[in-house]
Symmetry: D2
Subunit: 401 residues, 4 copies
């Protein structure tokens, strides 16, 4: 498409889809294959085994579904719940809003716990609901680990703690779309029943694979859940798992090889190192925002996100203009403010296969754009603040020591 | 995956996924992009316009859904029908069987018209049902255009004729998974209400995009259809179409560019030429089967399929062994016999981006395998019969005249 | 380039450039890298070590030169010889002719031993020359292992035998462009002093790397050879070999990674298996030619080539027309007859990463073209003859057993 | 090669090989083709026509040689000169040194005009030589337009002026390896007789194509030049140009399609815009160096290079350590100081397909490394200085207005 060519690399800083590493692009650069030949089940077997590691589960069963995050949500809900089931769901931004919309359209009885955008899930309200729900009418707690619209990370360990405190049997369903493979995520330890992500987020693949992981308790629930489902039905997958052919319908051969390459890269770097890298880039971004004299949309330190930062612009600036200029003048993509925060925030995604100098290039660009729109930023100030943090004790790349 | 490497090109003759043309592989060899930047809507707009041409519709509205054919089925059904709706569905092979299974699980009242595998849909039964259904309890007719398991092509024009003859308002839903872009298909002329295909079939792309096209009547039906749906809901697409951003959730950037390239190739060759090419390859394959003294699973000439040929093996031969040898010895993939015809037929897919010499190489391979399993074939006989037909008046490649 | 698009795979049956395996295309699908970073020398080291295996040498020193076969010839000659040096060179076809032309333009005293095109090098003449050259005026014997224009393989072991019989110290320079990695080639055992090939031949890479391997004797000769050379000078390479940085000027990063992948595939299949595969495909091709009632340009069985077959057409047929039709109607590329055999032969290249069914598809195509040009071939006859040989005891693909 | 993997994009800031744009990588992602089929000559014809535009010549004849810059040098010299010919050559850094070394080894009588590294060619000396050479013993002037080792751009217009002033008929041979397609270059206007570049420089392709362009006067000289040459002989090319098949030996199919894509991108951006972009990035880099309190190796403003900046480090710092840290810690490649300036300078390449934010990311990295090695830089200072210049009146990307 000629009308969008611009010289140099595109600077992709939306919180997904993110940059695909070259080895993954290479792995996917291939013709189709017959998914019923011996090669694809053999490959799939390694993927199902290894993908559990990124969820930190040993007992969960993963499903690699040809869909997006929205489909993964639907898979999580319809396989474990029946129409009319009461679920507690937290509305803290655009993506939790969309999930709740889905929950309602799927005919669950959604008990929405709303917070101001920029705040995390209100777990005090959850606690009171659990406390009063002695008859266990709440069938599931639905929560996004990281709200991509506001850059807010919720405290999943705390949710589990509350469920345990009240010995509540509700299923614990987690949207890990912008967290898994980037933030600290512990499916087994936190007793999560269904966790899910999408391929185009921290896994740094193209869009097209929804990855859902179900605990034994969730699998048990799926046997009696009455929500209508076919395409998203785990049962069909489980049947083919047993047969050793794995696929109830045609998978994307390219995404399977891509996932293999993506996992290999993550394991080579080390999952813990990947998480540390995200912490460092998140912190650096926030230091730059601070240096610019701007506010983070995230209202408290406990909620800051290491995968996306929503930056609040002064009232006289339209954040959408910042996103427009980024694309037009600097070949950079930033995230728009969505819904309630439209025009008020722009978002810097810093997840996936990304390194220090890429981020600093982005921050340098943001500074120039801020100046372009009339905000009196000191050029170099954010980059300086971020790089001061990064330079001081940067971890070595293990493979290059 | 080292353990499957074999020298030379893989000979992919399953009826999907099929070979991807090199220009399409190239078009997809790319990093992710922000689907909210101006480039992707501009690209999508051309795709939605041009994809209608392969359906031969001007009034239909297409949806490019990140899913497989199974998901496309679900989209077609849930958007147009309500639980309990009576539908007439034809069971003639494994794929119609699976669609019927889905229809039943989605709680429709499925009136199954079964034929022996190898026969086409029994339209006499349809006629009698339509004739007696004066109160219009039948809400939809569901039919696969081409049953991929048996190589049977149904007569869609005849279905429309019957509906018209009886002035029956039932929706006409067609699975064109292994027909669209390969067989003669006329959505508008035949009054089809929902037609669908998958990217990995005649479009010759990777798996991952279900393409569904809805007539105005189908769109109207979707406003009142009560089937529960979210991910597959056309409403969300239509909302974003109106906004000009097109995507309710993240599409695969790679598949969009791939579809652009695939359509460009089809239009360059000419859709009618593509269909003629499939006719020629289908005919050549059947002549080879005849020369080998074997039977086509398709029982009558009127049903023969130009995209897949199911070859019946003699009773003392296990067709699965033929498929195994193809892979092990000749780096070729043939289709297994499925379900009722397991062990009894093997399938040669001849759809998608394929040419004469590729097919003849396949046929030469099948001959050797037949000999490998003890069938007394004369080597060269099938190839000779097929090439006699092909050589006599082969159409020139337009671009090379 | 739209005007050449044709559906399906291109059938590439020229004797180079040949089909590149998908894993090699993938390995080369990459951005540039700094060749002075630690990664490239580390990679190069493995290449220099492993490339010796395809020459079957342990004492030779390989050079990976950014050039073509023509440049590799020049490198071989100018590094080992001085202007005026007498060399014996065999003219048996177009490529030996071109090499001799180069030898003459480089001011050597070329003693040309000519044979009829279709015959091998006349080693009787060589013997008499060696016998009479008691004063060792002959400084080098230059011979193509496989003459690509006529499909003639020379007997290198015999050349060595003669040199040994007469205790002649002449350097033994071999063009292995269409033999190495496909035919039996033994640099050390046959006492070859310089052997060379090009990346686009049996190694199945893109064009652009001339691979030259020098024996210790050749390296010694290079110290005193007076031919003017800079770009092709081995001395510069040897200097950088010692420094461990390997490259006197910028290599193609892509070809280095491609060579790594190509060698990996060859070793996975097994070099001996690769050679057997070429034998089988060569034999099958010749059986087809015989079945068509046509003559092989190669006049005696002892010279037949397992990498290319030059087929003699009847006098009333123009072989160039066969090549033209192959491209225009069947998306196939055959080799033209060159120079003395222009119009009289067409060539089928069967070297590199190729398998049985690809070849049979080609043969089926040739049959149709023969018919197209009016030659009374029985369609299926050549394919039948070839596949009868191939089917009877086809070797299993090791990785698929 | 696992041991070099590092997360995120590699930051490639050596002055070649440079980043390849994605569309060019895509164009090259292909199988081999027969270069004798109609498609390749048709493609080549467009390349030969269009490549002249980047030299700004209408009368020159280009040669696309499968070689590197070193081979292109050799082609320029051997086709136009005879052994013993007197040539004036300017030694101002490592690459002019290497060219002079080649000139001497090719047996020319090289009249070396040396300058301190960091200075441009001494044209005063040239003038005096021309003034005194009334008998025209000087056959050629050889000069690098941009000395890549020191970041010095010579004044070619001035050289032409001097030749004209003294009506001297010497050939004017220019190494444009790190200038053509990036700096202002005017072959016809400046009366350049041979200009050359390499594919991996500003054209942003892989290594492997030496592009040489000869004026009519140079072509005339080639008819009588007595330097021995075969592989590099223009005569063979010209013969095939006349035949319309273009190639005396096998070209890299991939590089031909790559060059087509590279030229298309350059023309889409506009060659003048490309040059302006390099000016801007060069200026921004120099402003950063100044802000860090460091010296540019280039001693005078008139010589500053817009494609590479050689930064002089303080005496107590080893510049090689900076390059090492860049690779180890930041996944960045900077250029080493070579030969006389080894350890004293490091080089930032800012040529080819590159944009503002990529450069700013690099500069941010350099700042951190300077701090790593103990140099008291203020973090953000260089980035701030560079971005102040860039932000103030950044040109819009034409395709995105």
């Amino acid at each position: 498409m000629d009308y969008v060519y611009a010289p140099g690399r595109n600077h992709l800083f939306v919180p997904g889809p993110v940059n695909i590493p070259e080895p993954v692009i290479r792995a996917m650069n291939r013709n189709n294959e017959d998914y019923r030949s011996p090669a694809i089940p053999a490959l799939t077997k390694t993927l199902l085994e290894d993908v559990k590691k990124i969820f930190k589960t040993t007992t969960g069963v993963p499903f690699l579904i040809p869909t997006t995050g929205t489909g993964a949500w639907e898979s999580a809900l319809t396989n474990t719940l029946s129409p009319g089931d009461r679920i507690v769901s937290f509305l803290i931004g655009q993506f939790s809003l969309l999930w709740i919309d889905q929950q309602q359209r799927l005919n669950f009885d959604v008990d929405v716990v709303e917070s101001e955008w920029g705040q995390g899930a209100n777990l005090d309200v959850l606690e009171s609901k659990l406390a009063s729900d002695t008859s266990h009418t709440i069938k599931a707690i639905c929560i996004v680990h990281n709200e991509t619209a506001t850059g807010v990370t919720n405290n999943l360990a705390k949710v589990r703690q509350l469920l345990d405190d009240y010995q509540h049997p509700a299923l614990f369903l987690v949207d890990g779309v912008s967290s898994i493979c980037a933030l600290d995520f512990r499916m087994d330890e936190w007793g999560i029943d269904v966790a899910l992500t999408g391929s185009q987020k921290a896994l740094s693949l193209p869009t097209g694979m929804g990855i859902v992981c179900a605990s034994p308790k969730a699998l048990e629930a799926s046997k009696t859940a009455k929500s209508v489902r076919v395409f998203f039905d785990w049962k069909d997958y489980l049947k083919f798992y047993q047969m050793g052919t794995y696929w109830p319908y045609t998978p994307s051969i390219q995404l399977l090889y891509g996932l293999r390459a993506a996992l290999d890269l993550i394991f080579e770097e080390g999952l813990e190192n990947v998480i540390i890298r995200h912490k460092r880039l998140g912190k650096a971004t926030r230091l730059a925002v601070e240096a610019w004299g701007l506010k983070n949309c995230t209202q408290k330190e406990e909620w800051v996100s290491d995968t996306v930062t929503a930056v609040v612009v002064p009232p006289d600036i339209d954040s959408a203009e910042i996103v427009r200029i980024a694309w037009k003048r600097y070949n950079m993509n930033l995230g728009l403010g969505l819904n309630k925060v439209a025009g008020k925030v722009f978002r810097i995604g810093h997840l996936g296969n990304l390194n220090e100098l890429q981020l600093l290039g982005c921050l340098a660009g943001v500074e120039m754009i801020l100046k372009d729109v009339g905000y009196p930023v000191k050029l170099g100030s954010g980059v300086g603040a971020a790089s001061a943090y990064l330079q001081n004790n940067i971890p070595l790349i293990p493979s290059r020591i």
